[in-house]
Symmetry: C2
Subunit: 325 residues, 2 copies
């Protein structure tokens, strides 16, 4: 019984039927997880056995999008229905329920909602963005198939993207967790849809970034950010506060919870080749070779380091570097 | 020998003599850790045995500053020397070497440097800020005593704090890791020093937020943020990209690496009282009682949840909530 529950939880199909498809009726249901200490992503697996993938999955999201992530071979064709939308505060995010359909890779998807994370969950070339938008779709013929179209937002001195400008006047109405409001005029998605055509779109297979962290989720993420003005960003941040899962390991590599637990044990250091054993602590996780190395000298020591990619397995100079809080 | 090394690494005293006191001469030494996947904070303990506290320490920084954190009984008295400063890119942060002295709690401290994190490492009442500044001091009579004075920065439509305005013209010169530049005119600390007098200052004993994560570090953090303009923030972010350790557990509670590893095991769920066993997985970590609960209904289920503080030990309704990536 337990085993069956875990198997179900390990695929995205376990979640969409009673999760993403749900619409708020009456009051708004608040999520039962959070982003702080024991409520946070390090402890999501304690919420229930269905969250096993949060600590064991090897294709977890979000990730740092590096050169190993390829561009989508085609653009998703997104159509969004005009008209009133609902704007909700779920405690862990603010969300807009909106109808639309998206064609991608020969399949049709139903847009269920979009929601926001601050700061961004994904990073692009190591850099984060202050806001990330996730448009969550489920397959029309295969409701177990989940596709998320993601956009980064950069703070701008001037105007916001029209969607953010459309949400701004309604933020005060959903400032408290568990509240919702109707945006009768709807939202203007035109700039967003154009952006899909002009920006590169990365594609990879990852996971839900919230419990139960189910895998098999297709992420399509625009490389170029959209603008959000200062006041709107600051107001959204004051409502969401912080709702970003920490960056996960390279796709296919050991879950970082397992890596963290195996790292730094006495047995790891009580050997003559610590670099080898450090690598053994996370066997499936490749470490990129430093692209360029330079000899850096200081007043007391001399070590060879990479200018771009610090190598965690380097042993020379350990414990002798500049320290700061 | 190994044991001695671990003991030394577990206190802040092990790091300041060959770390914070060091000045860059010639080229800039680059840090040997990072913020991504195997280089990142989940795996810092693999860098060397001196980093043991990163995965075992129970008073680790950064934290979410909640009502349990008290205000400092006095204001730190900070004096900063005018004149030229050095501005460095260490790969993991951008840093200014500056001389000054600070009196606090009957002791005198030497200001060694300040550096920046983006997004902020600490959160105040759950909210993060886009930038956090750490002024790192060591004790003059006791060099093992480390005090960090921290400031948050909020993105502003108008002018930056004078320090950020003073750094901005020099960002291009230190865009690459391992570079440095001199700022001959120095920096204007007057607004920052005034801010210490006008803002509440939180105080707690935590750790370095970078390897070796040594504990016994006094943090003094201003509650109110200072302003940074959009262009300066975006440029700093493009250089630092992301350098924020994930929020640690409540002070005194189990390190989150241990919590994460113990959570969600089969033995945890193969019992009749999972809530009790979930709590047992992290015995030292207190969970705040929900300050207010409300009955929230949806179309298919009915659960009792907290409007403010989701309870990770709640079992009703698990796996049935709204899911999103």
């Amino acid at each position: 019984m337990l085993f069956k529950s875990l198997v179900l939880a390990s695929t995205a199909s376990a979640t969409c039927l009673h999760g993403i498809h749900k619409r708020a009726t009456g009051d708004v249901e608040i999520s039962d997880f959070g982003y702080t200490a024991l409520n946070g992503p390090m402890n999501w697996a304690s919420l229930g056995p269905e969250n096993e993938a949060c600590k064991t999955g090897k294709n977890q999201s979000p990730i740092n999008i590096d050169d190993s992530i390829e561009l989508a071979a085609e653009k998703p064709a997104v159509t969004i229905q005009e008209g009133p939308v609902e704007f909700l505060n779920l405690g862990t995010t603010i969300e807009v329920v909106v109808n639309g359909t998206t064609s991608f890779a020969g399949a049709e998807f139903q847009l269920a909602q979009f929601h926001l994370h601050t700061p961004s969950e994904h990073r692009i070339g190591e850099e984060y963005y202050p806001l990330e938008m996730h448009m969550v779709h489920t397959g029309i013929t295969d409701p177990a198939a989940i596709t998320v179209v993601g956009f980064m937002f950069q703070v701008s001195k001037t105007a916001s993207d029209p969607i953010m400008a459309g949400l701004q006047p309604h933020l005060a109405a959903i400032a408290q967790p568990g509240t919702k409001t109707a945006i009768e005029a709807g939202l203007d998605f035109s700039a967003l849809l154009s952006h899909i055509q002009t920006s590169d779109i990365f594609q990879y297979s990852g996971s839900l970034t919230t419990p139960p962290c189910s895998e098999g989720v297709t992420f399509l993420i625009a490389r170029d950010p959209l603008p959000i003005d200062v006041d709107t960003f600051n107001e959204m941040k004051s409502i969401m506060k912080f709702n970003s899962r920490f960056t996960q390991n390279t796709l296919g590599a050991e879950n970082l919870v397992a890596v963290a637990n195996a790292s730094g044990t006495s047995s790891q250091w009580n050997v003559t080749t610590p670099a080898h054993h450090a690598a053994a602590a996370a066997p499936a996780a490749p470490v990129a070779a430093p692209p360029a190395a330079e000899h850096v000298s200081s007043s007391s020591i001399s070590v060879t380091v990479s200018a771009q990619t610090p190598n965690p397995h380097k042993t020379k100079g350990r414990g002798r570097g500049r320290r700061y809080a």
